[in-house]
Symmetry: C2
Amino acid sequence: MRSITRNLGLATGAMALAALTALAGTGAADAAPTGTQTLYAPSALVVSVTAGPDAAHGTVLRAATLVCAPRPGGTHPDPAAACAELKANGPALDPLTAPRPNIRCTREWNPVTVTADGVWQGRRLSYTYTFANPCGLHASTGMLFGV
Amino acid sequence: MRSITRNLGLATGAMALAALTALAGTGAADAAPTGTQTLYAPSALVVSVTAGPDAAHGTVLRAATLVCAPRPGGTHPDPAAACAELKANGPALDPLTAPRPNIRCTREWNPVTVTADGVWQGRRLSYTYTFANPCGLHASTGMLFGV
């Protein structure tokens, strides 16, 4: 008798799971099955480097995508390191643009602007930082903006 | 003599290309070789669907990355169709959120907001549109926001 109850319990669980999957599926009824519908809060970012001090209107030199769940991926050159930095710093990314110790840069004004835009753990993320010149970017702590 | 001149011209061109490549390489001196440094203008986007009328502070339900060059890719369920729509509409994406003809939706206020953020052909793109309810999203013309 106990085993029958267990089997019924399992069957009910399976039905609940099927119903849940069907509900989740209604979000994109016309679309092909997608890897974006998971139990993880969505995280999908675009990291870019723009010439000049104005990310909104400047020419974007480089851009890469970054996904951190269920596993690090995207066109970012080092998704694992970039995702680790995001996990450690949450949405406050200023520590990643801070200079590494013992590195000196020239001080000319030849600005480059880095951005991180998109979604981090279910919330919108929009980060912008302008370095005085490319040396500042190369001398920064984080791997995230090294696209 | 003419062929020598031509060869010299070619050699100079090759040297210039090598120098250009070296310059481009300095952008990520510490990083592994990356697919982001190509001759294509960078295009990398995050497409998201958020509950409510406020993309900046709402809970993001779904998010996907989209890359269109050198070939369509990312976690978007249909990168090829989404890239074709982007190519046809450029940065002005309103036609993609317009309703398909002959589809009627109820009119209750249960808003969902779609966004496309990142870089499109070397320029920043930031698009937001709020549908009155999920039916409006399902009944829209484009595949881009069907994540």
